[in-house]
């Protein structure tokens, strides 16, 4: 991985002897090759000064960020001089604290790197690490690497070795290459640059030390004291590399992006648990985007396969159960007193939501209503009729609890293909039954389906018009609580990184579900659920990062954005009651690892999240202005 492309690079470098270093120039930084050693030294000093002061005095950093004048960093040497003179602190012999100051389960991402120009200075140098290391030199490079790890990592023992000590041994030819890589290794190690605040570790179950560097050291281990890299520090580096790669992709700098993607894969190995998996999926998605792999995602995969993945996601964590439960509560309340009810489900899948609703209807005082269900699903490539099978199963269930049940399935490529007449619009007005029976009460339910419509302009509006035409008493909408649709690619990437990191964290933290199916689930089964859930999420990540245009269907939007869209289309929100809130809380208490989950109420909607981050939101709507008429008619 490290050796690819090095031959070409080193030849080019030798040609540029005495001129501006070509690699850095390609990225906008003018550094003379002869100055590289100096620049490297100053970078280390600067980092030392900033690293130690950050540990002791946050105010100093913020002063740097706001009050000082920053010179143009493209002339690295003079920039460094000015920075150092401003700081005016000699580098202390030992840094007093490790760079990651706090261990949080959460990933605090740096602000969008575009805003912090000096921070991005670190990244192009990092890129050059990968491309300039030649096969005979990694040993020396890693030697240097190991010794210059902040001593805080090794619990205060050992010393920082900076400066010219190792390079003195090298000959002139290697020196330049050595400088390049040493400057980058030292700068990339620093997790703190100007403008980066509060980067924490990631993943609740991180090993305290890993053998990332000793892997690189390899045969040289015998001659060296073996020092291990703190995985937290590597975690920070990993995040920075991910961000840098995304930025490179946004700037269409595919060469840099390619190098960084490889770096991500190397760094990801040093991590454990959630972080490694997230980084892996994001790296793969970035690679797909960089290499323009077509189709960007394997869309030929069965919808049955993705249904299966979603089932495992359903079993392994409470998000979908919460969604079904809260939506059912809203539908149940809306159906109070109705003798005929009709539910339209925009994403039938396995129909896991409906047994609970039917049971609740069966236990209503006054007995169950007659229940009609219309299920919408995508076409199956192998002609099996999944929709009808689900319908049969639900009919069987309804039969056991003596609920009068009717079912109809519609196969549609997209929800926008639906017409109101198919959904029985006349039935709602009493047309179908000659008007002598009570009109049916209609509910429309959409769990993680509406955001796909945003890939085609106008599709969502058409669907909402169709929904209004059906005159539902209630429309329940469940969507991911994230903004993966607006803004630049980099913003989307950052958002997605934060969201899916939290999601994977929650999978790690609370993998087995309690109650109901738990008795049947063996330890191995729970593990399989989790792995398949990760694949499920990985496909979403791939879609968010690698795809564009009509292919990018995972266009998640926040609750606030959906509020805007629904109100513009003529709906008004229905508040989910406190009853739903309490029951949702109880549902979570049943999950192992349930302490991490949080139910919150927001503008009458309920959100479920992991610790402080909401991840999924349930909201309920009705057609604006009709509410009073309906309640009068009851």
């Amino acid at each position: 991985m490290l050796s690819s492309g090095t031959g070409k690079m080193t030849a080019r470098e030798e040609e540029q002897d005495g001129g501006v270093d070509e690699l850095l120039a390609a990225l906008g930084y003018k550094v003379r090759s002869s100055d590289m050693a100096d620049v490297a030294l100053k970078l280390e000093q600067l980092e030392m000064a900033m690293g130690s002061s950050a540990a002791q005095d946050d105010a100093f950093l913020s002063h740097l960020a706001s009050d000082t004048v920053h010179y143009n960093p493209s002339d690295l040497s003079t920039w460094l001089e000015s920075m150092l003179s401003e700081l005016n602190t000699p580098p202390p012999p030992l840094p007093s604290a490790s760079i990651p100051n706090h261990q949080s389960n959460h990933l605090d991402l740096p602000p969008v790197p575009a805003a912090a120009a000096p921070a991005s200075m670190l990244d192009p140098a990092e890129c050059s690490t990968v491309t300039t290391v030649d096969l005979p030199t990694p040993r020396r490079q890693s030697e240097y690497d190991l010794k210059s790890i902040p001593s805080a990592v090794t619990a205060g023992s050992g010393r920082i070795v900076y400066g010219p000590e190792p390079p003195v041994e090298l000959n002139a030819r290697d020196r330049k290459r050595m400088r390049t890589s040493s400057s980058s290794s030292s700068s990339s190690r620093g997790g703190i640059g100007v403008g980066v605040v509060g980067v924490g570790g990631m993943g609740p179950s991180m090993p305290s030390a890993t053998e990332a560097s000793s892997m690189v050291a390899g045969p040289a281990a015998g001659a060296l004291p073996v020092v291990v890299v703190d995985s937290q520090e590597a975690g920070i580096r990993l995040v920075h590399t991910l961000m840098a790669c995304a930025e490179a992709v946004q700037q269409e700098n595919l060469k840099a992006a390619d190098a960084l993607v490889k770096q991500i894969s190397v760094l990801a190995i040093s991590q454990g648990g959630a972080m490694r998996k997230v980084a892996g999926y994001f790296a793969e998605a970035l690679a797909r985007r960089i290499y323009r792999v077509h189709p960007q995602q394997d869309c030929s995969l069965d919808s049955a396969f993705s249904d299966m993945l979603q089932m495992h996601f359903y079993e392994s964590c409470p998000y979908l159960k919460f969604a079904h439960f809260t939506a059912n509560q809203a539908i149940l309340e809306a159906f109070a007193g109705c003798r005929r009810v009709h539910v339209i489900d925009f994403g039938m899948k396995q129909g896991m939501q409906w047994p609970a609703l039917m049971q609740a209807l069966a236990l209503r005082p006054g007995g169950p209503p007659s229940f009609r269900l219309t299920g919408i699903g995508p076409p199956q490539p192998d002609n099996t009729d999944a929709l009808q099978q689900v319908g049969w199963k639900l009919a069987q269930f309804a039969d056991t609890i003596h609920v009068d049940f009717q079912y109809r399935g519609y196969v549609a490529n997209s929800l926008a293909d639906l017409e109101p007449c198919m959904l029985g619009a006349e039935g709602a007005a009493g047309g179908n039954n000659g008007g002598d029976e009570e009109p049916e009460a209609v509910a429309v339910n959409s769990v993680l389906e509406l955001h796909r419509l945003l890939a085609r302009p106008g599709a969502l509006e058409k669907v909402l018009i169709t929904v209004r035409a059906v005159r539902p008493r209630i429309v329940t909408v469940v969507e991911q609580e994230a903004n993966h649709n607006a803004g630049s690619f980099l913003e989307r990437f950052t958002e997605a990184l934060h969201y899916y990191s939290t999601m994977f964290d929650s999978l790690e933290g609370g993998c087995t579900a309690a109650a109901a199916a738990a008795a049947e689930v063996t330890a191995g089964g729970g593990q399989q659920d989790r792995v398949m859930s990760e694949v499920y999420l990985g496909r979403q990540i791939c879609n968010v990062v690698a795809c564009e245009g009509a292919e990018r269907t995972e266009r998640h939007e926040t609750l606030g954005q959906w509020l805007g869209r629904m109100t513009r289309s003529g709906f008004e929100p229905v508040h989910l009651g406190s009853n739903a809130f309490k029951q949702a809380g109880m549902l979570l208490a049943l999950f192992a690892g349930g302490d991490g989950y949080r139910v919150e109420e927001k503008d009458g909607c309920l959100t479920l999240g992991w610790h402080t981050r909401p991840l999924i939101a349930t909201s309920a709507w009705r057609v604006a202005g009709v509410g009073d008429a309906l309640s009068a008619a009851r």
């Binding site: 439960f325 896991m352 609740a360 009729d385 109650a515 109880m586």
Partner: protein
């Protein structure tokens, strides 16, 4: 329960005539067992065949579930629905029992202690039944293959 054995045989004979065995009065036995917690019921089921058959009765488990459910359980309609979904014993095993364990901080406590604390907890009946119905649904087999030819998909053009 049988009285302690006395030393002399004559007195033993007397005692035997006056002994009362709980197994003589099944209704009384049911009344008592209905007040036990889940784990103790499991233990009780291992005592003898009579106790085992009593412990298998759904009414015993119904009483147990209703004790722990807010509102004391639903009406007769609830009973028929629960019976259709698999019975109270299964409901307890799959939903109410694990939920109680979760809420009292884990199984493994002595039966008496958990019974005392669990009495103050009340689960939501609707929540338990929702989870129970999902379990029942998952256990259903799909439609018989022979009947599938009757299904005709409706394709949206």
């Amino acid at each position: 329960m049988e009285a302690t054995v006395l030393p002399s045989e004559e007195e033993e004979e007397e005692e035997r005539k006056n002994r009362f065995s709980i197994n003589d009065d099944v209704d009384l036995l049911i009344e008592i067992l209905e007040r036990l917690d889940g784990r103790s019921l499991g233990v009780a089921a291992c005592v003898c065949r009579l106790w085992s058959s009593v412990c298998r009765r759904d009414s015993v488990w119904e009483a147990l579930c209703n004790r722990h459910v807010a509102g004391g359980g639903g009406g007769p309609g609830t009973r028929s629905v629960v019976a259709a979904l698999g019975g109270y014993r299964r409901l307890y095993r799959l939903c109410v029992g694990p939920a109680l364990d979760r809420l009292t901080g884990g199984p493994g406590r002595s039966g008496w202690a958990s019974a005392a604390t669990a009495a103050h907890l009340s689960l939501s009946l609707s929540l338990s039944l929702s989870l129970f119905s999902i379990d029942c649904y998952e256990r259903l087999d799909g439609p018989q293959a022979s009947l599938l030819f009757l299904c005709k998909p409706v394709n949206v053009p």
